[in-house]
């Protein structure tokens, strides 16, 4: 114990907590919930909304519970008449500046302000409505995000998210007083600034001021169009989070029920992004080995190491803006979503006797950046837009509800064939460190002919929640053709959330560290904490989803990407070999340097 204990009472109940605890945390310990808006456990304290006010006996004014540390002998009341009146007034004041058009609002039903207005029964407007007096803009130009200032309560969670978690600061607080607003540089639309479309701000916005741009109606239209063969793919992290949209506790694995639900929604074929995750491992693993050979054997100085992963479109956009000089280091592999789209309109279409233009590809992603990615001009290898529509996990939840499906009672079923098989290695793509682990499982075996030397294939050093993790794996007993790797210690690093990615890349740039392979995921926890996942998010929720992912991996019969039977067939019948010419045309891409300023 290096911290002193502090004794206080909350609503006359004594409690002892470590020094530095806030009143909010101490109350939570006693199971008293204090309402909050600007507070978010992932972020630093802002203390600007004041709905968390409580009464401290002896103090002149009410104090903000989220921003006030406990003190010895404090007597706190969280629900006195003064507190209730103050809170109600604060909510009414917030609403007087708010476009409270709940029935038309995207966040209707999942809005922290609406919940508080309901809880405190705010009733009629007490204050003059100022909403028309404010300078307000709606930015709906991004394919990923809609920013509606008329819904913003200026809690600044998004500003803190974009700065503290992502190191991007696309958003800042601008102007002051009644003109204060959350703004990009000169109020440019989000598509024109450094925003990575990661959606982390959406995950933390308490109201409807930042939401995804929805494509639900387009997807229903496609399903109802008899000329279209609509294929759906589901990303690894969706299966462990969709339950949260449908009333389950975080961490439920619902793969089989989700597949059945998708079939009931009317998709013609339910396939798996995990299939192309396995494919990514073969393409990216081969690319890594080729790069290593070129550097170590051919001494080719044009080849860039460390190689970084490319499956996170938030990371790709970030590096394009922030470290364009490192673009040659980014794997040329498309993300699994885009590999899937390119194959669905070529390989799959041919196999099914369909024309590419009649296949419509829908993705269910934990991610808002995937919406942007699908709209990139490079992503048209099939001759058409490879992925037509991207829905977030949240949007899928909405569709299941709209369809009136009783999810809990659904039987489980399997993905359809051709591109529906997956291994545990594909599943763990959804967690930070997962791509690294999956790649090592395959690369090590290609090179040595033996399985990675970790118990049950679990490469624990790359798992976990630290922002940046490192691991080395020594290659011994190589197959003859990989002799040049004998004794080489392959050194790897893993980072999640862009602020950590920035730190890592700055260290690489400064020459402080030397890696061969780096995995980066834009979102905290990896895709399982993605900007399209159910709201709310917290470390605890992300941890539960992560456990579910690793359990799913452990429970699968096949756990190495190169064992995926449908991937083998794909190479035999269509692509030839990893990194073949055809694979390059369909599955690889290039990047665009962009301005940071």
């Amino acid at each position: 114990m290096n911290k002193f204990s502090v004794n206080l009472t909350i609503n006359d109940i004594p409690v002892t907590v470590p020094e530095g605890t806030t009143i909010l945390e101490a109350a939570k310990k006693l199971d008293f919930r204090i309402p909050t808006l600007c507070y978010h456990e992932d972020l630093c304290v802002a203390g600007n909304c004041r709905v968390c006010v409580v009464e401290q006996v002896g103090a002149k004014a009410l104090v903000a519970a989220c921003a006030t540390p406990v003190a010895e002998g404090m007597c706190i009341h969280t629900n006195s008449a003064t507190v209730r009146t103050a809170r109600k007034t604060i909510i009414q004041l917030l609403l007087s500046e708010h476009n409270a058009d709940c029935t038309k609002c995207y966040k209707n039903g999942n809005c922290e302000l609406q919940n508080l207005a309901h809880e405190y029964r705010v009733g009629e407007h007490v204050f003059i409505d100022l909403i028309n007096e404010r300078r307000l803009t709606i930015d709906d130009l991004s394919p990923s995000i809609i920013k509606d200032d008329s819904k913003c309560i200026r809690c600044q969670r998004c500003v803190r998210t974009c700065h503290d978690i992502q190191g991007v600061s696309a958003l800042a607080v601008a102007y002051k007083g009644d003109h204060q607003k959350i703004s990009t540089f000169l109020d440019h639309p989000l598509v024109e600034v450094v925003c990575t479309n990661c959606g982390q701000c959406i995950n933390r916005c308490p109201v409807g001021a930042l939401v995804e741009k929805t494509n639900i109606e387009e997807v229903w239209d496609a399903i109802n169009d008899p000329t279209k063969h609509v294929v759906v793919q589901t990303a690894p992290a969706v299966r462990v989070a969709i339950g949260e949209e449908l009333g389950y506790d975080p961490g439920e694995r619902l793969t089989g029920k989700m597949v059945t639900a998708l079939r009931r929604l009317g998709f013609n074929s339910v396939l798996d992004t995990d299939f192309t995750a396995d494919l990514t491992i073969l393409e990216e693993g081969t690319e890594l080995l080729t790069r290593l050979k070129k550097v170590l054997v051919d001494k080719d100085e044009t080849v860039a190491l460390p190689m970084t992963t490319s499956c996170s479109p938030g990371w790709v956009k970030f590096i394009e803006h922030t470290f364009p000089e490192f673009l040659p280091n980014v794997s040329t592999c498309k993300s699994p979503q885009q590999m899937f789209g390119a194959l669905a309109k070529t390989y799959y279409a041919t196999k099914k006797g369909l024309k590419a233009q009649d296949v419509c590809v829908v993705s269910i992603m934990p991610c808002t950046a995937k919406k942007y990615e699908a709209n990139r001009p490079e992503m048209r290898s099939s001759g058409y837009k490879d992925v037509d529509y991207v829905l977030t996990t949240r949007e899928l939840g909405t569709m299941i509800k709209q369809a009136g499906i009783n999810f809990r009672n659904l039987e489980e079923s399997h993905y359809d064939s051709l591109m529906g098989d997956s291994t545990g290695a594909g599943v763990i793509f959804g967690a930070t460190g997962g791509v690294m682990e999956a790649a090592l499982r395959t690369v090590y075996e290609i090179v040595t002919g033996r399985e990675v030397p970790f118990k049950n294939l679990n490469i624990l050093p790359v798992r976990g929640i630290e922002g940046v993790r490192e691991a080395t794996i020594k290659i011994e007993g190589c197959q003859p053709e990989w002799g040049f790797l004998e004794g080489v210690e392959v050194s790897c690093a893993v980072a999640h959330s862009l602020a950590n990615a920035k730190k890592l890349m700055e260290a690489v740039k400064a020459g402080l560290v030397n890696y061969h392979f780096i995995e980066i995921m834009a979102c905290p926890g990896g895709c399982l904490g993605g900007g399209g996942q159910p709201i709310p998010t917290s470390a605890e929720i992300r941890n539960k989803r992560s456990q579910a992912i690793y359990n799913e991996d452990a429970g699968l019969p096949l756990r190495k990407s190169h064992d995926n039977p449908e991937v083998k067939i794909l190479y035999e019948e269509f692509l030839g070999a990893p990194n073949s010419h055809k694979a390059h045309t369909l599955l690889h891409t290039h990047y665009t340097p962009r301005k940071r300023y």
């Binding site: 600061s169 696309a170 800042a172 300023y597």
Partner: protein, 157 residues
């Protein structure tokens, strides 16, 4: 020509390349030319490893750090209660008439911008206006026009 790089260098000599240097740099730029251009905010962001949004956010907070083009002379008439009671509306009207612009606008010759400001701390001698750094208390509409004419002459001479 305003040399923003030189200003950045001078200020960071004193304050280092941290956020502390932000306000002094912005103030120095505005001192030279009354407002901040986009490219200057970008240059400052680069130098201090901030995002342009953060620089813009800071600049837009301060009434005196303008981010839109301003004339050579910025006229700011106090609009707060004491000056309001003392007749700030007539002053503004007189200025609008003589300059042929509305509040918030800049004359075509880029000489004058007319703005309002919150209390300038001269409430006992209102109505009051500020032209760049110069305070002009106890105004009458006639007096305000004369002052502006003084600037016009100074400029022509």
């Amino acid at each position: 020509m305003l040399d923003v790089q030189k200003i950045i260098e001078d200020v960071t000599q004193v304050y280092g390349k941290s956020r502390t240097a932000l306000m002094p740099i912005l103030q120095a730029v505005v001192k030279e030319r009354n407002y901040l251009e986009d490219k200057e905010m970008i240059a400052v962001a680069k130098a201090l490893d901030l995002s342009p949004a953060e620089v813009f956010g800071t600049a837009s907070f301060y009434t005196f750090l303008d981010t839109v083009p301003r004339g050579k002379y910025c006229i700011r008439v106090c609009k707060t209660i004491s000056c309001h009671m003392a007749g700030k509306d007539e002053i503004i009207k007189a200025l609008e008439d003589t300059l042929r612009i509305k509040v918030g606008e800049t004359t075509v010759d880029k000489q004058f911008t007319l703005m309002t400001a919150n209390c300038l701390g001269w409430c006992h001698k209102g109505p009051v206006m500020l032209i760049n750094d110069e305070v002009y208390p106890e105004l009458t509409p006639q007096r305000a026009i004369e002052i502006v004419n003084g600037y016009r002459r100074e400029n022509a001479g």
